[in-house]
């Protein structure tokens, strides 16, 4: 930052004051919640908000740095938290003792074999097979491989379900699980990114929306892997749990850990933003053709950032799910885990990580508080309606009141896009 001009330094300072004011207000808001609802409640809310902040940073680097449109956040959160669950949940001895385990191992060998064969066929054009024929062969062999794999997995998975319920975890430390969460989510992002990043931005949105639904369908129906609708709990904590040390301390430890993680991630990402790498990312975002003509590998850099963002989403998801100690694939919905994160990022200010963190914590507090508020509002309205107009409120008023939040999320997105496209903490262009 040697060449920072006086003008931009002044600009930075003015922005800094705004940051301080907003974050102080946020801190006061958390204190207020702690005062009204009690410390354990406020601690829980803050931990969850920090987990969302990690996810929001992940989206912020995808969208704010590189302009990549990801609406499959829910799928990455779900995949990441499942990976973490699998790595860190205690070992299910019944499974490893049963003869279903070697059968399942064989099935996985088949899977690897099938992937290798289809992969080789898809590359056959390199050795002179006509491109069209190669494509056709790949699609046909892919379909056959899919059916074979399906039938190969059928027997072992039913055996697992019958003999042991499900396969259980690996019993490693939860922090290893979180790392696995990042790895798996990053891997999924790599595959999606590899396919879609060279194409127009809308395609990425459509593909990510689809992959999220498919990950969810798979984890919901694969009872042998996730216990499906039976759900898995309690997920282990990397710190002493409330059962050992009480709510206040347990949650405080968890909060300290997630705050530390958030801080480390923030500092690293911030450093990357000001590094030549970050400048190149912005150059690609703002003028793709110019960046490409300067010899930058546009799609390669985009893939990098898409994977990095995806990994952060996976880790954030693991943080969130481990904290609640319950893994229920049906509990992941686009609204809470995709669009809420979008509101956080665009409200906070796309391209600014402090904005993403502020947006995440603030929006999450509003989100949590809006549940009782919406219910109260609807109850008041229905009471008035009954007293004044003899209106009979429908029986499912409570659930309808919660739908109010869907509407408000949508309205917020459209209003912010129209009237405050840069959010409350806009991106500050670093010069130098």
């Amino acid at each position: 930052m040697a060449g920072l001009s006086a003008d931009s330094r002044h600009h930075e300072q003015r922005g800094f004051g705004r940051d301080v004011a907003l974050f102080s207000a946020l801190f006061a808001l958390i204190l207020l919640v702690a005062f009204v609802q009690g410390s354990p409640y406020a601690l829980r809310m803050t931990v969850e908000a920090f987990a969302y902040a990690l996810i929001a940073i992940g989206l912020n680097i995808q969208w704010g740095y590189a302009g990549l449109f990801n609406v499959g956040i829910m799928g990455l959160i779900l995949a990441g938290s499942f990976a973490s669950l699998f790595v860190s949940f205690p070992v299910n001895a019944a499974f490893w003792a049963s003869d279903a385990a070697p059968q399942l191992g064989m099935a996985f060998l088949w899977l690897i074999l099938a992937v290798v064969i289809v992969g080789l066929i898809s590359q056959s054009w390199r050795v002179g097979v006509p491109k069209g024929l190669s494509t056709a062969l790949t699609i046909i062999s892919g379909a056959i491989a899919f059916m074979v794999i399906q039938s190969v997995f059928d027997a072992p998975t039913t055996a697992v379900e019958r003999q042991a319920g499900w396969i259980g975890g690996l019993g490693l430390h939860p922090l290893v699980g979180w790392a696995a969460a990042g790895l798996v989510a990053g891997l999924i992002s790599w595959v999606i990114g590899k396919i879609c990043l060279g194409l127009r931005a809308d395609y990425l949105a459509i593909a990510t929306l689809g992959i999220a639904q498919i990950i969810k369908t798979f984890l919901r129906n694969a009872d042998w892997l996730t216990r499906g609708t039976l759900t898995v709990s309690p997920l282990p904590w990397p710190v002493p749990t409330p059962l050992d040390v009480g709510f206040l301390w347990g949650r405080s430890y968890y909060l300290a850990l997630s705050a530390a993680l958030l801080l480390v991630v923030y500092l690293l990402i911030q450093r990357a933003y000001h590094a030549p790498w970050g400048r190149m990312m912005r150059a690609i975002r703002d003028n793709e053709a110019a960046a490409a003509s300067m010899g930058k590998n546009v799609n390669g850099r985009r893939l990098e950032i898409f994977v990095l963002g995806g990994a952060l989403m996976g880790i954030g998801g693991a943080l969130l799910v481990h904290f609640n100690q319950l893994f229920d694939p049906a509990g992941f919905v686009d609204l809470n885990h995709t669009f809420l994160v979008w509101v956080m990022v665009i409200l906070g200010g796309a391209g600014n990580n402090r904005g993403a963190i502020f947006g995440a914590v603030f929006v999450y507090i509003v989100w949590v508080m809006s549940e009782p508020a919406a219910t109260a509002l609807f109850r008041l309205a229905s009471d008035l309606g009954r007293d004044w107009f003899d209106w009979v409120p429908p029986a499912d008023l409570q659930s309808r009141a919660l739908q109010m939040r869907v509407f408000v999320i949508g309205l917020t997105i459209t209003l912010v896009l129209r009237f405050a496209p840069h959010g409350v903490l806009p991106e500050r262009i670093a010069r130098g």
Binding site: A201, D202, I211, Q213, S399, Q403, L411, T412, I413
Partner: protein
């Protein structure tokens, strides 16, 4: 032979019905994509909204005792067509036009359309709850049975009408796009907006026409889908992915491609979840292996994976789609 008729009933008619729905949706999405340059994520909820509007109208008019031999929901289709068309123009004015005027990137419009989707979903659920509704107002569906000498070929009235309406819409659309001045203007804007503007085509008119066609066809698809299955708030949100798959498969901005894509996706989906062992059962004695009870390519839970896989294959191997749409 019974097995073959079962296949016709389940596989072919099922594919034709869902394919028609996808085709109607995809034509709208592809026109919007081609002319306004963004993926309209709210299209599914426009369909749902149209179906709920029909529900309200049917409720209001069912007391009048109108009887023309068709369900009221179908009689009201022209009204709902117009209402939905106006509604989508309103959506455009309120949410998309200001962004376009500011020169926002297309991807910002995609996000705005997601916001609109959420607003529509929220509003529909606040007003109607999350329960199931029946658009026929309690009447039984008329079922046509075509005797074949074996099992009957079964087709419900809404299904038959849907297939006819889709065919009619495609013919009308074709005539409109090739014969009328406005239709030609739309194609011109889709091909090259700057050049079209220079030749004096009014962009506003073209945009409005796009929404009328897109919204109107979405209304038909939504009402017919609600007649075929039950009407519920997330009726059409779930078919968004197949519609996008059909659009991209057909080629962005290619209405005929969208129709073809809709049927390809519809048939692949239906045939992928079809239990093929039913067809093979007569040959159980001569087959070298035991016939499993269920022999479908994909289990029914993974139905959604079929359009997704089609989408991925198209994106990898032919991002322009069958009919050479645009990629930019």
């Amino acid at each position: 032979m019974d097995e073959l008729i079962f296949f016709v009933n389940r596989g072919l008619i099922g594919g034709l019905v869902i394919g028609s729905i996808y085709a109607l949706g995809a034509v709208g999405v592809t026109l919007i994509f081609g002319i306004l340059r963004f993926a309209h994520f709210a299209h599914g909820d426009v369909m749902t909204a149209a179906a709920f509007a029909t529900l309200v109208l049917v409720g209001l008019l069912s007391g009048l005792g109108i009887d023309v031999g068709l369900p009221l929901a179908i009689v009201l289709l022209p009204v709902v067509f117009v209402l939905t068309a106006l509604f989508t123009i309103g959506l455009d004015r309120a949410f998309y036009k200001p962004l376009r005027a500011r020169g926002a990137r297309p991807v910002v419009l995609v996000m705005a359309s997601i916001g609109v989707t959420l607003m529509l979903q929220g509003l529909i659920r606040i007003v109607f709850g999350t329960g199931n509704y029946d658009l026929l107002g309690g009447e039984r569906k008329v079922i046509y049975r075509i005797p074949t000498g074996f099992r009957d070929i079964v087709l419900s009235q809404p299904q038959a009408l849907l297939i006819i309406l889709t065919a009619l819409s495609v013919i009308c659309l074709h005539l409109f796009l090739t014969r009328s001045r406005l239709g030609k203007a739309m194609r011109a804007v889709s091909d090259n907006p700057d050049l079209a503007r220079v030749t004096g085509i009014s962009l506003d008119t073209v945009v409005n026409a796009t929404w009328v066609i897109g919204g109107g066809l979405a209304a038909i698809a939504g009402v017919m889908l609600a007649l075929d299955v039950n009407l519920q708030p997330d009726l059409a949100y779930n078919i968004l992915l197949p519609i996008f798959a059909a659009t991209i498969l057909g080629g962005i901005g290619q209405p005929y491609g969208a129709v073809a894509g809709g049927y390809v996706v519809g048939f692949s989906e239906t045939l992928a979840v079809f239990n093929w062992s039913v067809l093979l059962r007569p040959f159980a004695g001569v087959l070298p292996f035991d016939l499993p009870a269920n022999l479908s390519v994909v289990p029914n839970e993974y139905r959604l994976a079929v359009p997704f896989v089609i989408l991925i294959i198209v994106l990898i191997y032919r991002p322009t789609g069958i009919f050479k749409g645009r990629v930019f």
